[in-house]
């Protein structure tokens, strides 16, 4: 029996498993710890944290859609100081690997966050969320603008001094996601996270007005999986050496494998945990079984496999 090497790397960070939580879908880990040990997954990617505490958007914040859901949370959170004081120590106590997701309203705020996190021990990587759709001003979605994206990543890079891998989280709501990907990699991103939610809307038939308090929301769940697979495939094709954390509608081992074949080095599980608190565990074991069944001896061999043509495979 062959032993499967299930480990992966994002930049210089090594993880025993390629299955992670998705930021904004696991809070800071405490809620899921009742259902599985947090150290058994690749890492906990924490909910995007801002410099100050934030209340977020008005309710209703949620609408279920066919095979998906819209959310409109608006980055509710306790602020970075409380997060560093309370959440990081808890995750370390659980022996969880930690990827901290940060979000800012300005280029400077991202740099401030990165500076505060630089000296915190036990963080494996920073996810720089430049693509949250639930902000009042679409101009603040940095990932929709090439120059703004580059400047955010450049600022974070300077603040961390290259000590900790930077993962830039991108939006699918752009004309050419590969151009934004190239831009943030040039600016110093070590890895990419694809995709954030897709901007959407539901009209309530009773009120005949937009259902969500924030009017628009981010669409997630199986409904967006093909968009995510496409985005990962396109970016991996253009930047084959840049590791990608793939996400968007993954709810079983087959979905995870699809994402890896498209070019992802790891997968994040978000909305699936809402419907199934043990989703990460089942996806992890199904993915292992599938990799072995397909004849792979390591996860790494499967990354981007869909790009190899039939001839090179038979050689």
């Amino acid at each position: 029996m062959t032993v499967l090497d299930f480990s992966t790397t994002l930049g210089n960070a090594w993880f025993a498993s390629p299955v992670f939580t998705a930021s904004g879908c696991a809070s800071s880990g405490r809620e899921l710890a009742q259902f599985f040990p947090l150290h058994e997954i690749g890492a906990v990617v924490t909910k995007s944290i801002m410099n100050k505490a934030r209340a977020g958007r008005a309710a209703p914040r949620m609408a279920e859609t066919a095979s998906g859901m819209l959310n409109s949370i608006g980055l509710q959170g306790p602020g970075i100081d409380s997060f560093i004081a309370n959440d990081i120590p808890y995750l370390l106590e659980q022996k969880a690997r930690i990827i901290v997701s940060i979000a800012g309203e300005s280029i400077e705020e991202y740099a401030v966050l990165a500076r505060k996190l630089r000296s915190v021990a036990g963080i494996s990587a920073l996810e720089v969320n430049i693509s949250c759709p639930n902000v009042e001003n679409r101009g603040l979605v940095f990932a929709c603008d090439l120059d703004a994206s580059r400047r955010v990543i450049d600022g974070v890079r300077r603040a961390t001094g290259g000590e900790i891998p930077i993962i830039a989280k991108l939006s699918p709501d752009v004309t050419d996601v590969t151009a934004i990907a190239q831009g943030v990699v040039d600016a110093g991103a070590d890895a990419l996270a694809l995709i954030n939610t897709v901007l959407g809307m539901v009209i309530n038939l009773d009120t005949m007005r937009p259902h969500l308090g924030g009017k628009t929301g981010g669409l997630s769940g199986p409904a967006i999986k093909p968009i995510a697979i496409r985005a990962v495939f396109q970016v991996h094709e253009k930047l084959p050496h840049v590791p990608i954390l793939g996400m968007g509608g993954i709810s079983n081992g087959g979905d995870a494998l699809e994402m890896i074949l498209a070019g992802a080095s790891g997968v994040s599980i978000g909305t699936a945990s809402f419907g199934n608190p043990t989703a990460l565990m089942s996806i992890q074991s199904e993915l292992k079984e599938l990799l072995v069944a397909k004849g792979f001896s390591s996860l790494r061999e499967a990354v981007g496999f869909a790009h190899r043509n039939q001839e090179s495979e038979s050689q």
């Binding site: 405490r30 809620e31 977020g56 309710a59 279920e64 095979s67 859901m69 308090g213 809402f274 199934n276």
Partner: protein, 279 residues
């Protein structure tokens, strides 16, 4: 405190052992084995709906109306389900023997007075269901329990015969007068607080009813424990969608999750007028 989020919650496959129509609602009895021992009035359950190929990806949350630790099936819980939405219609169509993927118990519980005091239970629509299990617990504590139930019309009142055993009195109000007295369930509350020397009001039902009760108890010594119902995606505290604006002792307002910091909240602390607004 924070380390205990979702304590006791377990994901299990549970069998439906009873499904009966009661007026406009369904009474579902589900075998949950020994978990029934840790379920308390106020707790809820999150149920996967629609089967494996369903396009409904989110669980549905239901208040546990009552548990039984020694039924013929072992531990069971009772749910009163209104088949008004796609997910609850699917659930009500499941027959005895069907197996459900459930997460239980979730949420906090109603606080039970340490001394026997007079309490008033107020239920709107099928929100009355968990109040009957609560009445049994309060009754066993020696409390005097009086109950008010209200709905728009007779068909939406849930008041099982056996439920009346644990209450001192039960009055029903409908807005169309088709059952009980014509009027709103909140009409007699102020008078009852005085007449019966009510110490605690327990309520469960639509948000407008909970807000109206909070207005009545404002400035009095009456404690108002209400079970809120805000639409939730996960039920376990990770999605942040079911939040309500709540003030702490110092007046600081935060958006609390009704799934893990509720569903039972102190009505005096909820900022009802700011629900649905940016705080």
């Amino acid at each position: 405190m924070m380390a205990e989020i979702n304590r006791n919650a377990t994901q299990i496959n549970a069998t439906i052992v009873g499904n009966k129509r009661v007026g406009q609602y369904h009474q579902l009895i589900i075998n949950i084995g020994e978990i029934s021992n840790v379920c308390k009035p106020g707790n809820f359950v999150a149920i996967n709906v629609g089967g494996e190929t369903s396009k409904m990806i989110l669980r549905r949350a239901f208040a546990i109306s009552r548990v039984s630790n020694n039924s013929t099936f072992g531990g069971t819980m009772e749910l009163i389900v209104a088949p008004f939405g796609q997910g609850s219609r699917w659930l009500c169509s499941q027959s005895e023997g069907a197996v459900l993927d459930i997460v239980v118990p979730l949420g906090n519980a109603f606080g039970i007075p340490t001394t026997p005091v007079a309490v008033l239970l107020v239920g709107g629509g099928y929100g009355s269901a968990p109040l009957f299990g609560l009445a049994e617990v309060l009754n066993a504590r020696g409390c005097r329990v009086d109950m008010l139930l209200g709905a728009s019309t007779a068909g939406k009142i849930y008041a099982p015969m056996e439920g009346k055993r644990s209450v001192n009195s039960l009055r029903i109000f409908t807005e169309d007068g088709s059952m009980g007295q014509l009027g709103r369930v909140t009409d007699p509350i102020a008078t009852l607080i005085e007449d019966l020397n009510i110490a605690v009001i327990y309520s469960c039902g639509p948000m407008a009813m909970l807000a109206a009760i909070s207005e009545i108890t404002q400035g009095t010594d009456v404690v108002h424990q209400c079970a809120v119902e805000e639409s939730m995606a996960c039920g376990i505290g990770i999605c942040m969608t079911c939040v309500l604006p709540v003030a702490d002792e110092l007046g600081a307002v935060s958006m609390l999750r009704s799934c893990i910091e509720g569903p039972v909240m102190d009505g005096a602390n909820v900022l009802w007028k700011r629900v649905g607004k940016v705080i």
